[in-house]
Symmetry: C2
């Protein structure tokens, strides 16, 4: 099952469904930092992340990037699903944030599974609706928050257990849709206040409550 047994919906397949899946699924491994789907590309299957992380993002006319959402292991690249069902061209770029392994289920196979397997129907609706909520939350964020609030939110949400976020300032800027200089400026202010510490390629949160307070102000 090419690693898809990690996904509960696929474990719940009938024997016939498992046979159908196994017949067409392939696995691909990509290095980090690579764009694996370009906007406008005619996508040919459902992508499930087995390990690593995918980043779905868009470019502004000014050339700046903004992350729309991230895809963690066990999750699927929903836009590929959409392209399956609606024959729409891909509306964003997809990049590997780090070395990433993806299982790809070909469109006809996925469609066949969807028609006959309740667990795949549930998986599809759940994945789509979760994405709708995420996008709405992101849209609300962009509309209603100042840049320093969005940066603080990004740090809190994406830092590891120990409080460190391993990303360059350029990468952070690419996520929240601003310039590297603005990220440096805002991080500088936070560092000056003792709330964080910066180093090359990383930000360490020292006072989470202070960052949370920025968001609420």
């Amino acid at each position: 099952m090419a690693g898809l047994d990690k996904v509960a919906a696929f474990r719940a397949l009938s024997e016939r469904g498992k046979a159908l899946l196994n017949q067409g699924v392939t696995t691909h491994r990509f290095k980090g930092g690579n764009v694996i789907i370009d906007k406008g590309q005619d996508v040919s299957g459902a992508y499930f992340v087995l390990e690593g992380r995918l980043r779905v993002f868009t470019y502004t006319p000014a050339g700046r990037e903004a992350t729309l959402y991230l895809i963690e292991p066990g999750e699927t690249c929903i836009l590929a699903l959409n392209s399956l069902f609606n024959r729409l061209l891909y509306p964003a770029w997809v990049q590997t944030e780090k070395a990433t392994t993806v299982a790809v289920v070909p469109g006809p196979v996925y469609r066949g599974l969807f028609e006959s397997e309740p667990s795949v129907q549930g998986l599809t609706v759940e994945a789509l609706s979760t994405l709708v909520f995420r996008l709405m939350a992101e849209l609300e964020q962009v509309h209603s928050h100042r840049l320093d609030q969005r940066l603080a939110s990004f740090l809190l949400v994406h830092a590891q257990e120990g409080g460190t976020l391993q990303r360059t300032q350029q990468e952070i800027a690419g996520h929240i849709g601003t310039t590297r200089e603005m990220v440096a400026r805002l991080l500088g202010r936070m560092a000056k206040q003792g709330w964080i510490e910066t180093s090359r390629g990383a930000v360490r949160i020292v006072k989470r409550t202070a960052l949370a307070a920025i968001i609420k102000s």
Copy 2:
């Protein structure tokens, strides 16, 4: 069928499916300008717009509004669908833009239809994926365009056939998430150039190509 025969997916139901639908569907008519779903509300069914228009929007902490998307006749209020499947509380407000008639399919009925009727499965996935694309387009707009570009886009997209948009400047501001004064300022500039004409409660597009050029600049 309470008007739902306008929706192709419901016309395609089996006799058993039609019986199930008719057993639970209700119709509601609302005046224009009313909030019919509040954020956080525990929504109890799938809402289909028969006539009128619904507006799904969010508030900023500053009290400003921003429209997430509109729902036209024949379309469904997807967030209600999401709340059905995932028991999530509603993440936005829903308001009638004008007098609106809505058919409401209770959650258990919709779930039953989804499980047994391929056309409802298709309708659900199509509605969700269409919304995902809309939200991504909106997110891309907000990230990458100046306010005058978003206003021009809004005018072009929402004007009637004859080129007139029947909305107050306050309403327009509420859609694109800015202040009435900014909308007045930007419309004033466009009017000065002869591209549009403003009057109370309406904007008439005089030169569509000029507005399109703003978006591309």
